[in-house]
């Protein structure tokens, strides 16, 4: 329990989350919350896309609040060692790119310790990455939870196209763009 959970435990537990939501009449989709947050901040004044009754999405904001609490509980009380046991080849590749904490921590130091706030490159990675995730998720109509898990489980072709897109984007970033920036 205190060690990382293997895929054959984690994957089925994610299915459990999706099915539980279906059984209480809700749909699994995390990126919808980003749209709701825009609406709460008044984005409806600028675009029709944000003009909807956000209170109908209140349940999903509660789910995401729970996720924050879950992250706190898991890292503080359910983990003895959070280092990630990566493939040794991936570790040496990452270390050659300057990610020295690969294999020894949960997240790369330069991106997720407070030093990131004063490191322009790290800040840019987080800003551009975040922008693309938010923009792309809404453009594609869903993210990993809505398309990759729910949509594929429901055998929906649009979700398969979106997931293929996720992988094209990810592979291009890691194999072609990373070598240019690291």
């Amino acid at each position: 329990m205190y060690d990382p959970w293997p895929w054959y435990v984690s994957g089925p537990l994610m299915t459990l989350v999706m099915v539980t939501l279906l059984l209480i009449g809700k749909r699994f989709g995390m990126s919808s919350n980003l749209r709701t947050m825009c609406t709460i901040c008044g984005a409806g004044k600028v675009s029709d896309f944000f003009r909807f009754d956000w209170k109908a999405q209140r349940w999903n904001l509660i789910v995401i609040t729970g996720i924050i609490i879950g992250g706190f509980i898991a890292s503080n009380f359910l983990s003895s060692d959070t280092s990630v046991d990566l493939n040794p080849e991936v570790i040496s590749d990452l270390q050659s790119k300057g990610f020295v904490s690969a294999g020894e921590s949960y997240m790369p130091e330069q991106l997720f310790s407070n030093d990131a706030f004063t490191n322009p490159k790290s800040l840019l990675m987080l800003i551009i990455g975040g922008l693309l995730v938010g923009f792309g998720a809404r453009y594609a109509g869903g993210c990993t939870s809505g398309h990759a898990i729910s949509g594929l489980s429901d055998l929906q072709l649009p979700s398969l196209i979106a997931v293929i897109g996720f992988f094209i984007g990810g592979l291009v970033m890691i194999h072609f763009i990373f070598p240019l920036i690291f």
Partner: protein
């Protein structure tokens, strides 16, 4: 009462995302390098079990606990929006190493700089809303 159920589901999902290491930047990098079966196993087993569950729900006409029928509305037909949107999402997923769920897990786990990615993701969503009519769908 229902609010407590949503909160418990969220806490459970947050713990699963953290403990499965699906919220680790390194695991996402490793996945796109095809360095380990781990992430493929998580997504693959979730989808296989998920599709069996949804088939069972559909074939047995199972209703939700509150008596409503369970229907997953089919997505509108298009290739452009899913492919282009998907590619943009994938570029960001690999760069920030986190998708929308894990971003909030990392916030709770105390990786404070993730707040930059979360605010940017909200801004990205806003930009989509503003540009929506001008984009191919």
């Amino acid at each position: 009462m229902r609010s407590i159920i949503y909160l418990v589901i969220g806490i459970f999902f947050g713990i699963v995302l953290f403990k499965s290491e699906a919220a680790s930047w390194f695991r996402i990098y490793e996945m796109f390098r095809f360095g380990s079966f781990h992430m493929y196993g998580i997504i693959g087993s979730a989808v296989v079990l998920g599709s069996i569950s949804i088939q069972l729900i559909k074939r047995n006409n199972i209703n939700s606990f509150y008596g409503e029928s369970i229907t997953i509305s089919p997505k509108e037909r298009s290739v452009a929006r899913y492919l282009i949107g998907g590619i943009l999402f994938g570029l960001g997923w690999a760069l920030a190493g986190a998708c929308p769920g894990p971003m909030f897990v990392l916030l709770g786990a105390g990786y404070v700089p993730i707040i930059v990615a979360i605010l940017s993701a909200i801004l990205g969503t806003f930009l989509y809303g503003v540009l929506k009519e001008k984009l191919p769908h």
